[in-house]
């Protein structure tokens, strides 16, 4: 089966990190659409297609910063894993450090992996490619719409 570009959702409040990820994404020459939101609450609104996000596509992968205002990355992760509609979407956590407790908690709460910022171009492309393959596990269609 062929994999097709999945849509990505980047949840990141830090402007500098955002720019670095944008650069990595551009340089990796990926076909994927990348959507960006600035905090945890907005992330959940986007994923649940609430308010101004009512026409949003459900992403095939979420890149989630841990330290954010309003709702932390952990809170978003927990909410996603409790929601049957959002649970299938894989989440990769973005961390500033190799703080072991953050990493342990990420995995325990249901994240697939974590990446240390800043992300290299190669790393970025690799993450995206692997999760596109993941979606081919059962189907060509990334997320069940309901």
């Amino acid at each position: 089966m062929m994999s097709q570009p999945v849509e990505l959702l980047l949840v990141e409040d830090n402007e500098d990190d955002m720019i670095l990820i944008d650069e990595a994404f551009a340089e990796a020459k990926l076909m994927n659409v990348i959507q960006k939101v600035r905090d945890g609450e907005e992330a959940l609104a986007y994923l649940r297609r609430e308010g101004r996000y009512k026409n949003a596509h459900r992403p095939g992968l979420v890149l989630l910063d841990i330290n954010m205002p309003k709702k932390s990355g952990f809170e978003v992760l927990a909410a996603m894993k409790e929601d049957p509609q959002l649970r299938p979407i894989p989440v990769v956590m973005l961390t500033m450090s190799d703080r072991e407790e953050d990493i342990v908690r990420s995995y325990a709460d249901g994240a697939c992996s974590y990446v240390r910022k800043p992300m290299s171009v190669e790393e970025f492309a690799h993450v995206v490619k692997e999760f596109e393959l993941y979606w081919t596990l059962v189907s060509r269609i990334p997320v069940r719409e309901s």
């Binding site: 894989p90 992996s113 596990l137 059962v138």
Partner: protein, 357 residues
């Protein structure tokens, strides 16, 4: 017991009335009608337990008389009255659903009473049996739905949980491999690198195994793209797995069947293909899907040794009984025919539903 006698000949009616006189003491009540139409009215208005029916009435003759009563009250026990010269017709009536027959000239009260009692009892047992069969069929349908839901749930769980974790795991191992390859501080990275490569390969294998398992449990293609795409995929997958050439042939662009129907038809094809592998010794299978009038026709034809009549109609083959049951649940019918040395064809006819899959 309230007995309705439908008999146009007054002498015969009197004969029956006299014969049943001794039944009055044990609570037999007799109502007499001399026309079928009148009898039908009694059947509608009164609580009748059994019908004694003459086959030759002014307003109805022969088997049609039994049919009309049965159409009106499908479960009512019927005892047919017949003359000496048309016993054959009475036997036919029993085949058509009457409980018993009595020859008028040989009639006596005791025989008639016993025939009526047995008729009522037999009809009661038949109805119970029919009811219990209906319940079993409903239960089978319910179990089938439950099983399908469970399979879908497990497939989803495997995908969402294990699939995600393995993908993450694979990424982590990849990261580790990269780091080791470029590390300068660690001495002799060779064995470590070898280990991580083995790990990565093992994860790939596990993911491949998981993929097979998930699609066996519940092909997502059936839910996402419908029956036609699923059958196409199944034919390809079957050919790859077994080496038996498999084609899916259809003139249809889309198929009008709801999702329960699509699942059932898909499982029928899978079951039929399993039978081909196990028994047919075939080199080629064709799956055909077509619409014929108001029915959907699904056929699985192979070029193998051909199923024997005994095997096709046997009660002991759970595979075939299961297939018939699946088709019956869709209110359809199934034929299975074998031609020695030329192959076997299974055909299911299922009423079309309006809702598309």
């Amino acid at each position: 017991m309230h007995v309705l006698l439908i008999e146009d000949n007054e002498d015969d009616a009197c004969l029956i009335r006299e014969a049943l006189a001794l039944g009055r003491e044990v609570g037999v009540i007799l109502t007499w009608a001399d026309r079928l139409m009148t009898g039908m009215r009694y059947l509608t208005e009164d609580h009748i337990d059994a019908v004694v029916l003459d086959l030759s009435l002014p307003d109805s003759q022969g088997q049609a008389t039994v049919e009309k009563v049965r159409r009106h009250r499908p479960t009512i026990p019927i005892v047919v009255l017949t003359g000496l010269d048309d016993e054959a017709q009475a036997v036919q009536a029993v085949r058509e659903g009457a409980q018993d027959y009595l020859v008028k000239n040989r009639l006596d009260g005791e025989t008639l009473l016993r025939a009526l009692r047995y008729a009522v009892e037999r009809a009661r047992v038949e109805n119970e049996l029919r009811h219990s069969n209906e319940q079993l069929r409903a239960l089978t349908g319910h179990l089938e739905t439950a099983r399908e839901e469970e399979r879908t749930r497990i497939a989803r769980e495997l995908h969402d949980e294990l699939g995600q974790k393995l993908t993450g795991f694979k990424m982590d191992v990849f990261w580790l491999t990269k780091r080791l390859a470029h590390s300068e501080g660690v001495q002799d990275t060779g064995p470590l690198l070898a280990k991580t490569r083995v790990m990565a390969a093992l994860i790939d294998e596990t993911i491949a195994g998981l993929r097979t398992l998930i699609s066996e449990l519940r092909p997502a293609i059936l839910d996402h793209l419908g029956l036609m795409a699923a059958l196409e995929w199944q034919a390809e997958e079957f050919q790859q797995r077994t080496g038996i050439v498999c084609r899916f042939v259809t003139p249809l662009q889309e198929v009008t069947v709801n999702s329960t129907g699509a699942t059932a038809l898909f499982r029928i094809v899978q079951e039929a293909l399993t039978n081909v592998v196990r028994h047919a010794r075939a080199s080629k299978v064709v799956i055909r899907l077509d619409e014929e009038g108001k029915e959907l026709r699904l056929a699985v034809e192979d070029d193998g040794q051909g199923i024997t009549e005994a095997a096709a109609t046997g009660r002991s083959s759970f595979g075939i009984v299961g297939l018939r049951e699946r088709v019956a649940l869709l209110k359809g019918r199934m034929t299975l025919s074998g031609n020695p040395g030329k192959g076997t064809t299974l055909t299911a006819y299922v009423p079309l539903s309006k809702e598309a899959a």
